[in-house]
Amino acid sequence: KLNVGVDTIQHGVEGLAYLLTESSKLMISEIDFQDSIHVLGFSDELNKSLLQLYLDNRKEIRSILGELAPRLPSYHSLEWRLDVQLASRSLRQQIKPAVTMKLHLNQNEDQTAQVLQTDPATLLHLIQQLEQALGEMKTNHCRRIVRNMK
């Protein structure tokens, strides 16, 4: 339809893809983008379209690129259950409370589920420790770093 060779189209597509991924990766500003493509010598109208294309798709491209980064298994969700052990083969008449949990993690497209258990004392300890962790982002130290890194 375009009356142009296959190779040219392929190069065109590759070039466009490269332009957009690199720009999105670096999150360059509008001005920087315009300056960069200016050297290619295209018409003003084409430059405007390219800029619009960049701005429209930047977010999505970045989120896709984000998936390529090295990752540890990440948290998906947690199910829990309260159990009380009443007896076992070695001891009758017990009252042993426990919290049984199923931790769902995502690892590279797969979801894994792991069954874990803990006692009430450790549960409270876990909650306390993780609440402390959450609180860290609100400290002055972290706020200062976040501010200065933008």
Partner: protein
């Protein structure tokens, strides 16, 4: 027991039988959480004299709690969480994406396996929202526990 000087005059086979019998008796009593009168009755049926029965029961009573704890710890259970460590990091860039600027948590649950004694810790990363979700759920579990103990 075989090395005890007081017992060296007794035939080792008899000693072994006695030891096994005593151990079995103690473990059964512990398992069933038998009280002193039940043990006494049982020993009476075995034709032990009063003094011996009393001695046995006194010793048993002394060690009963430790015995129950030991028996209670035998058995299989899912991996048991003993502790948690966390790390907060602020991501700046990676080779695929620059200027990411995202806080991220790395949480490790220290786990103890009652069977093999190995420590297959569970580690995962999460965002602040995900950690909030996790803590929220743990708090729900804790609240349920509290309500259950009040029933």
């Amino acid at each position: 027991i075989l090395d005890d000087p007081d017992l060296k005059d007794i035939d080792p086979t008899v000693l072994k039988h006695c030891h096994a019998a005593a151990a079995t008796c103690i473990l059964e009593a512990g398992k069933q959480k038998a009280d002193i009168s039940a043990i006494s009755t049982c020993l009476e049926d075995c034709k032990l004299d009063k003094e011996r029965i009393e001695q046995f029961c006194t010793e048993y009573q002394k060690n009963k709690d430790a015995l129950e704890i030991l028996l209670g710890s035998i058995g299989r259970s899912p991996l048991h969480i003993t502790d948690v460590s966390w790390r907060l990091e602020y991501q700046i860039k990676n080779n695929q994406l620059h200027k990411t600027y995202q806080p991220s948590y790395l949480v490790t649950l220290n786990v103890e396996n009652s069977d093999s004694g190995s420590h297959p810790d569970v580690s995962f990363s999460c965002t602040m929202e995900q950690l909030q979700d996790l803590v929220g759920k743990l708090k729900d579990a804790a609240k349920s526990l509290e309500r259950a103990t009040q029933m």
